[in-house]
């Protein structure tokens, strides 16, 4: 299925529409623009010559039909009431060239000869423009593609020059250079249960240093995050060089004493060295504690918090070195942002006048709320898991969702238009007064790697305690993020018209795919403050369980059934699928 990034999928026009456009161009549709009336806020577009005109069928004088169509050629209105009669079709038959009409209440084109709704880009553009006028400031006639009010279009989304991917292998001269200047790696696996040619490189246990499974689980995911792995294995942050540089400028300040990026570099080298004995990320812990000393207390052993904190730590060092200011969204500042940073768009629409205020914010991940209890008991424990499975079995027949939370469902909720409470009235610039508003989130720019964090805690203000929500969340191995993009969300807000919305041109130029592949899942078992983290990694299309020092291969069912806390997805074009020759290719390089 082709990627549905933008609504550029334009259905083939029927021969009558084709003929109509050929003979008349887009003039008739633009002329209609003056007759498009939109009830704010963000309401449905209707066609009326006069604002309070009541359209009536020219043949039977009825005005209460559910479908009244105005002929685009002569503006005569007719009803269409199958199976009784269709005065609209009668008109089309009697006057050639008058087949195309427009639904007066819905601003949709209709071919009276084909008796079907048809679609035209120019007409849709006219409707969108009309709808936009009502939702922007009275001073500027800015279009939907800018949607400017308080927020400004992120200007750091400049086009990146695309380079075509090509397979590369060293030639004999390069091979000689590699041989002479490097130390060959050996897979030190002895007596493994899986033949050594199958074992992926970079798979190595991490020792638990004392309640550090929260750190180990995230590190395992990061060690196999393709763009991050490539960065460090390509020596883009050389720890010797970095230390040397910092040593030279040592001025006693704390910052020069540790570098999380250097520790990551050391970890990548160690983990991909071929040595399979568990690695102790002690230096990393030490550095992180130096970095996180002033942040929220290290006593909070939450994997997600660690993830954000260490990315920040890498950013601080690397961005400082490069002397880059924090440039959210582009990731020009450091590798952490280059990999994980995306941009979220937030729209707040005044419900009185339709004026929309837009802001853009960078994000390193997306935290999702679990849907509230959907009928299946939220207090699922191990004991009840069998029961919940039976409930599913019963429901399977009717192929319904049955209240099982899904990642897509959470994303839908995340991007849903939400009415802000009456206690949260937003100040509308157009109305100049606080009004009830509608808020909607969407993703303006997708990161290379999307990390989804599931908020698995419930806080009860009544009992003044929190508990963990163990409810199962279904997550797919492949995920298409297109429906959650700003362009898609905006498009649906404007009735799914064929029109380039915020982000469409950007995405079209870059041909950025919205398809993602799952490669790591961090799971948590246990209670809110007593539990254990484990990471599942997907390498060469096999799943491996990384439980601190213990790496085992597991069936994908285990992963599908696991309680996901953080899920890592990488853009499909960066995802390296199974390659039987993976191990062999490393051998070739060494020889």
């Amino acid at each position: 299925m082709s990627s549905k990034i933008s609504g550029r999928v334009s259905p083939q026009p029927c021969p009558h529409l084709l003929d109509f456009c050929y003979r008349n161009g887009s003039e008739p549709f633009r002329a209609l623009q003056d007759c498009i009336r939109v009830k704010p806020p963000g309401g449905r577009a209707a066609i009326r010559r006069e604002p309070f005109e009541v359209p009536r069928c020219g043949t039977c004088d009825e005005s209460s039909r559910p479908r009244l169509y105005a002929c685009v050629a002569c503006a005569a209105v007719f009803c269409h009431a199958p199976p009784l009669h269709s005065h609209a079709s009668a008109h089309a038959l009697s006057v050639p060239g008058h087949e195309i009409a427009v639904d007066v209440d819905r601003a949709e084109l209709f071919c009276c000869a084909c008796r079907d709704q048809v679609y035209d880009r120019d007409f849709d553009a006219a409707v969108v423009h009309a709808q936009t006028i009502t939702s922007t400031t009275s001073t500027s006639g800015s279009t939907v593609t800018q949607c400017k009010a308080t927020g400004s279009q992120p200007d750091n989304l400049r086009k990146r020059r695309r380079v075509d991917y090509s397979l590369w292998a060293p030639n004999s001269r390069e091979n000689a250079i590699i041989e002479n200047h490097s130390i060959p790696l050996h897979d030190a696996t002895n007596g493994s249960l899986i033949s050594s040619t199958e074992l992926p490189w970079g798979l190595r246990g991490l020792n638990n240093l004392g309640n550090t499974c929260f750190m180990n689980s995230v590190l395992q995911a990061l060690l196999h995050t393709p763009p991050l792995r490539n960065y460090f294995l390509s020596d883009r942050h050389n720890r010797y060089y970095c230390q040397q540089k910092n040593g030279a400028t040592l001025n006693g300040s704390k910052n020069s004493r540790f570098c999380l990026a250097c520790d990551m570099d050391a970890m990548f080298s160690a983990v991909f060295s071929g040595d399979r004995t568990p690695y102790s990320p002690a230096k990393f812990l030490h550095s992180w504690w130096q970095h996180a000393a002033n942040l929220a207390s290290y006593e909070q052993q939450d994997a997600h918090e660690f993830f954000i904190s260490m990315l920040d730590g890498i950013h601080e060092k690397v961005a400082k070195e490069k002397r880059k200011t924090h440039s959210p969204g582009t990731g020009d500042c450091c590798i952490a942002h280059r990999v994980f940073s995306g941009i979220l768009r937030s729209d707040v629409m005044c419900m009185a006048c339709g004026f929309t205020s837009t802001t853009y914010d960078p994000c390193l991940d997306i935290s999702l709320d679990l849907e509230p209890n959907q009928g299946v008991s939220g207090k699922s424990s191990l004991a009840k898991s069998n029961n919940s499975c039976n409930v599913e079995a019963d429901c399977m027949g009717s192929s319904q969702n049955c209240g099982i939370s899904t990642l897509k469902g959470c994303l839908e909720r995340f991007t849903r238009a939400e009415k802000l409470g009456s206690d949260q009235k937003f100040f509308c610039q157009k109305c100049q007064v606080r009004q009830e508003s509608l808020k909607q989130m969407s993703i303006r720019k997708l990161p290379l790697v999307s990390c989804f964090h599931i908020k698995r805690f419930e806080h009860s203000s009544i009992r003044r305690m929190s508990r963990k929500v163990d409810r199962y969340l279904q997550f797919p191995f492949s995920l298409d993020m297109a429906p959650y993009l700003s362009s898609s969300i905006l498009r649906s807000r404007f009735g799914n018209r064929i029109f380039p919305f915020d982000g469409d041109e950007q995405d079209a130029c870059n041909e950025v795919s919205s398809e993602f592949e799952l490669f790591a899942v961090v799971t948590h078992t246990g209670k809110l403050d007593a539990g254990h983290y484990v990471t599942y990694l997907r390498l060469s299309n096999h799943w491996y369980k990384c439980d601190d020092a213990w790496i085992t291969r597991v069936n994908e069912s285990i992963v599908l059934a696991a309680q996901g806390y953080m899920m890592f997805y990488v853009q499909k074009m960066l995802y390296y699928k199974a390659s039987e020759k993976q191990a062999a290719s490393w051998c070739d390089v060494r020889k």
């Binding site: 609504g7 999928v9 334009s10 209460s64 559910p66 209440d105 949709e108 709704q117 679609y119 696996t189 002895n190 007596g191 249960l193 899986i194 798979l203 246990g205 020792n207 240093l209 004392g210 309640n211 499974c213 004995t277 568990p278 102790s280 812990l285 030490h286 504690w289 006593e299 909070q300 052993q301 939450d302 997600h304 918090e305 898991s385 499975c389 399977m396 192929s399 099982i404 897509k408 698995r456 805690f457 929190s466 279904q474 429906p483 898609s488 649906s492 009735g495 799914n496 064929i498 948590h524 246990g526 809110l528 007593a530 369980k545 439980d547 790496i551 085992t552 069912s557 599908l560 059934a561």
Partner: protein, 179 residues
């Protein structure tokens, strides 16, 4: 009592209701038609298939007759290795230079760096007392609490801190009192 006027009104109102309902139905039909024609609709078959696979997987995992893969500790890993429950690799603490066992590095480092509350209170402790603290005793359970989590929104991986609970292996000289 229903007179002719009442009948008229009832008829009229149900007529109006019928019109409104028809109009709404056409609204939905028109929207769905557009979504389908523009290829914006969801792939329901794919989603159903995903749900089916996940239900199957959960059933398989919940089935006690399947070998439990839940406990992978104390087993042989894919490289043919076994590991003790508490990591025994020894290395030097980068803060104080002492040799520490990996599995107890974090609690050591915490005090070594003066991070824990206890550590800050023990600023004047003698070095011999410190030596005793780091002596090898029974292995420390990986989940014993060495700090209490006061956060309400985080999933920690330590066991719950109960007031006055001691370090489980008793190697330390004093219990971790909660202040």
């Amino acid at each position: 009592m229903s007179g002719p006027n009442e009948d008229n009104n009832t008829q009229l109102s149900s007529h109006i209701f019928g019109d409104l309902l028809d109009s709404i139905i056409v609204d939905v039909a028109s929207e769905c038609h557009r979504i389908a024609k523009l290829g914006l609709d969801r792939n329901l078959e794919e989603e159903e298939e995903e749900m089916r696979l996940s239900a199957q997987a959960r059933a398989r995992v919940a089935d006690p007759s399947n070998s439990s893969e839940t406990n992978t500790k104390y087993v042989v890993d894919i490289f043919g290795q076994t590991h003790p429950s508490v990591a025994t690799e020894i290395f030097e603490c980068m803060n104080c230079g002492r040799s520490i066992a990996a599995g107890r590095f974090a609690p050591h480092l915490e005090k070594c760096m003066g991070k824990g509350r206890k550590a800050r209170l023990k600023v004047t402790r003698s070095s011999t007392a410190a030596q005793n603290r780091y002596s090898r005793g029974s292995p420390v359970s990986t989940y014993s609490p060495y700090s209490n989590s006061t956060s309400t929104n985080r999933l920690s991986n330590g066991t719950p801190s109960v007031a006055g609970e001691e370090y489980s292996n008793g190697t330390y000289e004093e219990p971790w009192n909660k202040t």
